[in-house]
Structure formats: C-alpha cells, structure tokens
Symmetry: C2
Subunit: 424 residues, 2 copies
C-alpha cells in the first residue's frame, strides 16, 4: 500500500497497511500474502508524548509500528513538530544498527510519506530502563552494553574513522533535522536560564533554586559555551536524546531506541545524557526507599554503573582508535601520529576533552530536568513533594557544581565520589 | 548564450559568450545588443594557479571574467579539482557583498554550467596587497577596512545574528564544497607535519627545521585540535583563504576577492590567515631592505597594522553584537543575557577564545608557507637563499611559539612585541 500523502493510521487502517506491505506482513504471517493475517493483535503503547506506537503480534511473529504525527501528541496540533523526524529516526536507527546490531532494534520498513517505521518488537521482559531503575532493579550488563553502543556509534561516525567527504555529506543530510535540534536548544540550553512559561519545578520548595539558576552568571557563561558546541560542532552522529527512557532492558539485553533527535553534534552530548540520567536516578533513590529497602545497595550499583560506563567507554573507544589508526579516518593521519608516544598523547588529550564535554552536557541535562519543562519519572514518581524536592535539590546542586567545575575532574571516580558526598 | 555543458573559453569564444549574455554586455557597451561590442579589449591575467581570469574593457565599461577549470591550472589535468568551486565562490561573494559592499567586488553574472563568474573589474591602481607589502607600500586604511570586512562577514553569518534554522541550511549547502576543504586540510594541517612529496623549503638551510616540525609532538597535538575545529566547527561563513594575495588595494580602497575555499568553519581561521600573512610580510622585510631603505619604518607600519586589525575587529564585532543583542540571533538570548554584566562577561569570554583560535590558525598558516607546498612571494622574491632562509627561520620559530603558547597571550600587543623581539 503506497499512500500518496500522509494520513494518521488507527488500529483498523493499520491492519490494511500491514497487509499491503510485504516487508511487514512477512514478519507476522506465512508468506506475506495477507491470508494468514486475520488475527493480528494490535496494542497502542505510545507513552503519549510525541508518536503513536503499536505492538503488532501475528501468528508467526511480531513487530512494532511507530508513526510520527506532525505535532506533539500530548499537546495537540497547537504545538506543531515536523513529522520528518521519523525519517531521521529511521536513518539514525539504520546507521546505529549497522555499527552496533547487538543493542539497536532492526528496522524492517520505513515509509517517509507516512512517517512510519516498522521495526523489531522488543518482547517482554524488556522494559524502559528508567522504570527498572525506579523499581530498584540491577542490570549487571548495562555499563558493558551502553559503552559498546556509545563507543561504536560515536567512533564510526566520527573523523577518527571517516573521510571528511563522507562526514560532510552526512552532516549536510542531518542539518535538515533542525526542528528537533531547536527543541533541544530551547529546553536544555535556554529555558531553564530564563523566565519561560514552560518551566516548572517542585514549588514552593525549589522556588529560590529555580530563581538562582536564572541569576547565576557563571552558569550562563558555561551554558553558552555548551550551546555553541551543540549548535556548531559536528563531531559524530548523535542519538540526540540518550536518556534512560530511550533504553529498553532485560537482565541480559540492552536496546537503544528513539533517535528522532539524531544529528551531527558533539559526542559529549550523548555520553553526558546517559551519565546524567544515571545520576538523576541515584539522587532519586532516597525518594523510593522504604522500610523494606533502604536502597543503599542500589545506590552503590548506580554509582558503580556510572563509573564503569565511562571507564569502559573510554577503553573501548581508544581500542577502536588503535585498531583503525591506519584506516580511512582523516583526523589523525598515520604519517603524522607515527609513534606510540605521540598517538597516546593525542588520545589522552582527546579523551580528557571528551570527558569534560560529557560532564558539562550531563550537568545541563540534569538542570533542565529539575527546573525546565520536561521532568523525569525518577523524581515525578515520588509523591511527597517535600521529599521529592529534597532529592531534586541535591541533584541540582551537584549539576551546578559539575557545570562550573567540570574541568577540575580528571577521572570519573572523582565525579562519583563528589556525587556520593553531596548526597549524604 | 547558454551552453548545455562546460567548455573552457578562450579569448575568442569569450567575446561570443559576452555578446550573448545581456548581464555582461550591458556593462561594457550601450544597450546589450552587441552592436557596440566590436572592440572589446581582453587580457588574460590569471596568476596561473587555478583559474582563467580575463579583464574585459569595452567602450562604456569593464569587467572581469573568471572561469574555473576542473583541474589545477598550473599542474594540469593530473591534479583534478572540482570546477563547482566557482559556485561556492560566487555564492560567498554575493553573501559577503551583501554584508560588506564597500570591500567586496560586485558580481554581475554567474553561470554554474560554465563555472564562470562575471564581476567588477578592480581598476588600476588596485594591486594585490602582498605585492604592495613586498614593495614597502603603506596602506593606512588597511586595518580599518579589513576589520570591517571580517567583523561584518563573520558576525552576520554566525549564530550571534542568525537563527539555527538559517544557519543549518547554509552549513548544509557549503558542505558540498568539501573538495576545497580537503585541500586545506592537507596542505595546512597535515603535509607540513609529515613526509610528503609536496613539501618544500629553502634547502639546505631549513632542512633541520623542516625535520623538527615533523618530529615535534607538542606541535602535532596542537595542530590536531585546530584541524578538528576546522573540520567540525561551523561557526560562520569563512572566506577560507584570506591571505594577502586575496586582497586588492589602493591607498583608499580594500577589496577582498577569491573566496573559492568558502565554507562554514571557525572564525579564527579567517582572522588568523590575514594576521599570519601580515606577520610573514613582517619577517620578510629584512630580505627586501637595501641601502636606500632599511624597511625599519615599514616594519613598524606592519606591526601597527597587525595590532590595529585585531583591536578594530574586536571593537566592531562586539559593537555589532551589542547592536543586535535583541535581534534574531539564537546563541545569546536576551532573556538569559539580560544584564550588562553577564553580557560583557560572555562577550569577553567569546573574544578571548576567538583571539586564541586566531593565533593558532594563524601560526598554522605561517608554518605551512615555510615548509609546505605553497610558499609566499614575500619570501620567494628574496633571491639570496641564505638571506631568505634567515627570514623564514625567524617566522617559523615565531609560528611554533605562537602555536604552542597562544593561550598565554591576552592582547595582540603582546603578540606584536614577541614578534618584534624575535625578529631583532
């Protein structure tokens, strides 16, 4: 079925669409002729923010259909948002799957006119990582898997691996995902630092804290530097929204989804987003502790995961660099970085800069989740507002410290120690 | 005349082309009907490196025709180079003319198929600035004019003035000028730091110096950082080749030409290129001094021009920022940078970073002119090789110092003083 123009599907028209699309039908029934697709089970599971998401189960298999609407679903047509984001999501998913198939769901079908993606259904017990962390569930392979995903997707789409010709072509393509970038610019780098109708926080407890963010010149200088990097520096293909709500997990599987904010930007924005959301989860634990579980052990798990994620990322990233140092990447030519000493020095400098970028972007992501428009369930699910505010305040204070003093940290261990001390 | 495919013109076919092109014919004769174009005077004046350049004079006016060939003219078809560079040159010239008409020649006609630009002829006594500086001619308005050109073209094409939507659209377009960027990457950021068949230097005098550049780990770390900025950071529309050979001057006119390397890159690359070529001119003066003129006074003029260029640039750039701080630029929103103190702090930080970028890129441009493929006439015209090498060595030593220690300079005055001390 080839619609000549966009139309939002419902459960009924979706069945017709699937039957007419061999790439989808063949995943669900016998041969794709539609004959055995009579009893498809369809369930809408979108979290309600942006898109429609359907789980479709047939006699022989299952899949997920995701359709972007030309506005923000939870707000309505008054907040338009390009449905072309589905194109960039599909393009990024394919690229990420290419480099890291173990941690990215496969795409079966993409229809640009319909802004519709057909992809692997991440079957139970996959759940959103954020929900797992709120429930206090440990995922022992998380750091291992996420460092795989980040090191591979970032390295292979950077100039450490690519020629500038490939790089500029890809940059140019993703420049068109500008609407999504602008949304990030607004909600991460701008609104929290000014009066905005969209900002909210746990009032009245954090009123003074929100105001302090809006009046902190040092923060404003740091956020300007990071915003410039976000807007100007095309270092690698980013997921663009790599928080714990964009990751689905089981005890042995980790799958990264939803890269509709993908673009070429500074690597630290992805790494920082993931680390920041682990840090938010850490500071939220006191709100989830109870007589049965004081969450002390789980806080230790999160701390260790933060540390492992960065350390494993760094190790794997540098290993990829070593492996491909004589390859096609044009940033560090083998004729120049031609002895182990200079290569190691170059790698050390690169990784220190990336570490500081990651801490800075991570801090910015934390701040916006506490005094900006979009909050995280880690805190939102703490029903007692004074308890929630106490958790949020510590996270906010840590984020401010990190944003201002990130260059004084040399190892992730020091960051984790500072986090634990502030939390006590 | 509309050719359906590219063909290189000669003086004869150029006349036919002009007669058939009203936008050109009307600049030269009466009404563009070709009747009064019988006695066009045509002179080929290309400097021989890349393009054919014709001066065309008619009964009522004059113009210049520049045609790009699909290879490097001085080497031949064995070094292909996209003739599409003419498209980017024309696009950049129009943009620069829009923002700074006083210092950019007007374009009358562009033919993408033919890679042909028709533009204002910069009439005598306009000469190439580099030749004027070699002759020891002072241009008292040079710093004033070049700071105008750089502050206006860089400010108005940056996120200080533009929305991210406009910015990303423009970045995407200029991503296609990648072949020219790659040439810069190779000759500025790579070849001088490795063994390359293209490198040359004044041998045997500078043999050890050229080798020292290739074995200096500190230089290699600095050049990697600058190369990354060049490849990844789309801060503003750059001229891309802003040396003293891309500027034509008289005592009261300054015209910037030849932006075929234009792309969105770090501002410091343009500013540094211009300052660096003044510094090269400074170090070359001892090779041009003689009994009649010891060039002492002229060296003082160049020193003052270097200082004035940066200081005037900074002043004008910040003034544009102040003037447009409540405008459409999205980097520093008025709601955030909402008090004079924080705006001044932000501007100071921005300008210091830009100053250090400019010094770094400038140093890189100097090094490549001494041990890389393309040298400058300032030194090449010194016929005694030992004398030339002595000048070049001082310039090279200064460039290395600048590349490694640029962050220790806070004002341009300090840079000029260090330059003068090293030259003595």
């Amino acid at each position: 079925m080839a619609y000549s123009e966009f139309r939002a599907l419902n459960e009924e028209s979706l069945v017709e669409y699937i039957k007419a699309t061999p790439a989808l039908a063949s995943k669900l029934g016998n041969g794709g002729d539609g004959d055995d697709l009579g009893d498809l089970k369809i369930k809408e599971v979108g979290d309600g923010n942006l898109n429609f998401v359907y789980i479709v189960v047939g006699s022989r298999g299952s899949l997920v259909i995701k359709q972007a609407l030309p506005y923000v679903r939870c707000i309505g047509e008054s907040w338009p948002m390009t449905k072309e984001r589905a194109y960039f999501e599909a393009t990024a998913l394919k690229e990420e799957f290419h480099w890291c198939p173990a941690h990215v769901p496969e795409i079966y079908h993409f229809d640009r006119t319909m802004s519709l993606i057909g992809m692997r259904y991440l079957e139970p017990p996959h759940i959103i990582l954020r929900k797992g962390l709120i429930a206090g569930t440990e995922y022992p392979l998380l750091a291992q898997h996420m460092s795989d995903f980040m090191s591979r997707t970032l390295f292979f789409t950077s100039l450490l691996y690519r020629s500038t010709t490939e790089h500029k072509r890809a940059i140019a393509e993703f420049c068109s995902n500008v609407e999504m970038c602008r949304l990030t610019e607004q909600v991460v780098f701008s609104d929290p630092y000014k009066i905005s109708q969209f900002n909210r926080w746990t009032t009245p407890y954090l009123d003074a804290d929100a105001e302090a963010v809006r009046e902190d010149n040092d923060l404003k200088l740091e956020i300007a530097e990071l915003k410039a990097k976000f807007c100007e520096r095309a270092q690698a293909l980013l997921h663009g929204d790599l928080h714990t709500g964009s990751v689905m997990v089981t005890s042995d599987s980790t799958q990264v989804i939803d890269p509709e904010f993908a673009f070429y930007g500074p690597m630290g924005f992805d790494i920082g987003a993931f680390l920041a959301n682990l840090i938010l989860a850490f500071f939220a634990q006191n709100g989830h502790s109870n007589g049965e579980d004081d969450r002390k052990e789980f806080k230790q798990y999160i701390s260790q995961t933060i540390e492992d994620t960065w350390n494993l990322f760094e190790k794997k990233f540098v290993a990829l660099w070593d492996e491909h140092k004589d390859g096609s990447g044009e940033a560090y030519l083998p004729g120049i970085y031609n002895n182990p000493e200079v290569l190691q020095l170059a790698q050390k400098k690169y990784m220190v800069d990336l570490f500081h970028d990651s801490l800075g972007f991570g801090a910015a992501k934390m701040i916006r989740r506490i005094v900006g428009v979009a909050h995280v369930e880690d805190f939102e699910s703490i029903s007692d507002p004074s308890k929630r505010a106490a958790c949020e305040k510590k996270a906010l204070d840590f984020a401010k410290l990190l944003l201002k003093n990130r260059r004084s940290f040399v190892r992730i261990g020091g960051v984790v120690t500072a986090m634990q001390q502030l939390e006590k």
